[in-house]
Amino acid sequence: MKRFLFVLALLALMVGIATPVLAQECDDALGCVEIGEDDPIVIASMLTTSGATSFLGADSEGGIELAIAGWDGELLGHEIEWVKEDSLCSAEGGQTAAQRVAADESVLGVVGTNCSSAAAAALPIISEAGLVLISPSNTAPTLTNDDTEAGGVYQPGYFRTAHNDLFQGAIAAQFAYDVLGARSLATIHDGSPYADGLQDVMATTFAELGGEVVFQGAVNVGDTEMGAILTQIASDSPDVIYFPIFEPESNFIAAQSLDIDGLENTILMGADGSFVDSFPENTGDAAVGMYLSGPLVAGEAYDAFLELWDEEIGGVPPSGFHAHAFDATNILLDAIEAVAVETDDGGLSIGRQALRDAIAATTDFEGLTGTLTCQTEAPFIGDCATGEALAVFEITQAELDGNWPPPVAWQPGMDMDE
């Protein structure tokens, strides 16, 4: 019985330590996050860090790491703590990761997800928890559209620094039709919502401009032999092949197009999924003369970024969305800095709605991916990267020898005769 009393006393002691909380004054519509004097500022990431798409997650995580390092790991005297969740590249992964992030009340905002499918499932949970979700690589138009009739799944709190397919696809079509003078088009996607959506917008816009879409097909992730589909395309001899897919399938398509008769005069075009500095090297000679649409990365700052990457993380970024992740993190941290209110006890109080508003109000943010301004109108609610921040780049021999980023071939608003 003595032992029993001892346990009882111990537990009573434990309870006794618990002190009542004093509710802070907070008039934010979604509530506030209180950060004690010695507590960290917590942000989270939900990226695909395992499985076949983990190169995307590793890429974005690097961007976030360097962004936080850029703040010396501190914001307003508080340590920045970064909670990593693995959202995979799937709906269920996004949902589970979102539940976990939402359960941690100290999280202010989330950088993620890498895949639109994960975002679609995560968004309702993230939004209900009052969080913000800034994506470095979700490009699906439905995510920033609140018109459910049109398939829109937008929820408040969603932002992205990635380019909406509607911008990128349209720019690609414009470039192909107006600048390259192409009149027939073939597109290839890889079964990912990203590539499928992008080629769809491209094809639609191209057709609207007056061109003819002669082939729309797909390959599978993991295919290495592209001869069959390229032969099929060659029989239609289009002016342009647009394949907005990722490495390594994009490498395979580009490289193998050299072997196919009938594609000698066809121009190859890719998108930001392949906008990686390893792309020319991995593709070989076939990359020369190819066009990629991608973020209008700032030359010098980006070089410095890559240098830092090599130093801190090692090697080169494994995909094309690290700069977007870097910018997304900085936008988030800027906004936190802007809305944080110092409390009497030396801590911080951050309103969740205020944070959303601050991000939505981001204008002319000078990022690595160009000048970003967050939109508020459907179908671009939360789109921080507009068409202005996009360009079409041409890969030349210099890129094959190691130069990156490639020279800008065209950007919206540029005079066509140039």
Partner: protein
């Protein structure tokens, strides 16, 4: 009449009906494709030939990997699910050596020395991984229920993938291009890229070597003896453990070699996940040919490669299915099922008609 009814089996009927339906579909699709008007995207004879050669090339790589499955299966009756990862281990590790050789100019300077060196190196790495795998993970499982080694192999597959991801990172690497493999040669009016000839010839040499080893040498005899009956082989004084280890080493060697050959032919896409799909395909090829049979694996690989290359365009285009290339696996696996319906033991699998597998 009643005797006829007694013999009637719904299952047999359905299987036969299915057989007929698939064959009709295949022929109808092929017929439609081949009779397309020339301006509606018809593929020329030359292009068909190109596809066929591409299929053979891809198929010989499948065959090299499939041999590893089939060798191990023949002896242990286990599916070494991690074999694709053994292929990856060699290919992924050797990419660094190849890049370095390219950088110092050795690769293009002395290609006839460098390429065999790469193949040997890669084969060696894969061999070590395969032998370690056998020693650590599989050996203690001898005599365990059949599914236990399979699950172990699945575990090993994950383990190896993420080990190499940890070692070399998650990005994509690519092999350097070798000048002598560029261009093509004309053979009786058809032009065939040299790289394809290289793959085909090296695969043939390796497979021939293996065949010789298994059929003509002492260790080959021991392997066959062990695969027939382990107990009797042991009584005859054969060191079972050594033979099994040797088999794994052989399979690993071929897979590693296939890794470099594949890398020089299709340089891109070298990363930790690169073994998974070829692994499944090669496994399919091994079963297609008749698992456990060495010539079967070779034939199955080539067959699968050709089906994949030609099937989508030939059949699906004719049936008016959009995005046919996306469905090449559907064709490959339908063919597999069809072959297995006709010949449940695979194309060359007579040994397994006994109640053994």
């Amino acid at each position: 009449m009643s005797r006829y009814l007694d013999d009637f089996s719904l299952v047999d009927f359905t299987i036969n009906a299915l057989r007929v339906v698939i064959i009709v579909l295949v022929f109808w699709g092929a017929f439609n494709t081949l009779t397309l008007p020339a301006d509606a995207g018809r593929i020329t004879g030359e292009q068909w030939f190109d596809l066929f050669v591409a299929g053979l090339t891809q198929g010989s790589i499948y065959a090299l990997i499939a041999l590893g499955y089939t060798l191990v299966y023949g002896i242990l009756l286990m599916i070494n699910f991690a074999h694709g990862e053994i292929f990856m281990a060699g290919a992924f590790t050797t990419v660094f050596l190849a890049t370095w050789m390219d950088k110092i100019g050795f690769l293009n300077g002395y290609p006839f020395v460098a390429i065999p060196l790469l193949i040997i190196f890669s084969g060696f790495i894969s061999m070590i991984i395969a032998v370690l795998l056998e020693r650590i993970a599989y050996r203690p499982l001898r005599g365990a229920p059949r599914l236990v080694p399979l699950i172990t192999a699945i575990g090993a597959s994950f383990f190896l993938q993420y080990t190499f991801r940890g070692l070399y990172g998650s990005g994509f690497k690519s092999y350097p291009t070798v000048d002598i493999l560029k261009g093509s040669v004309a053979i009786s009016g058809f032009s065939i890229p040299i790289a394809r000839i290289f793959v085909f010839v090296s695969a043939l040499v390796l497979m021939g070597g293996l065949y010789w080893l298994v059929e003509r040498t002492k260790i080959g005899k021991a392997m066959r003896a062990v695969s027939e009956d382990k107990e009797v082989a042991r009584l005859m004084g054969i060191d079972i453990n050594f033979v099994i280890m040797f088999t794994f080493a052989l399979g690993g060697l071929l897979a590693g070699a296939a890794g470099v050959i594949n890398g020089l032919y299709r340089p891109q896409g070298v990363n930790f996940f690169m073994g998974f799909r070829p692994g499944i395909k090669a496994f399919t090829a091994a079963v297609l040919g008749g698992i456990g049979s060495v010539p079967g694996a070779m034939l199955g690989g080539l067959f699968l490669g050709v089906i994949e290359a030609i099937g989508p365009n030939l059949v699906m285009t004719g049936l008016g299915i959009p995005g046919p290339n996306q469905l090449q696996d559907v064709i490959a696996f339908t063919m597999l099922v069809l072959v297995l319906i006709f010949r449940p033991q695979g194309i060359i699998g007579e040994r397994l008609t006994e109640k053994k597998a």
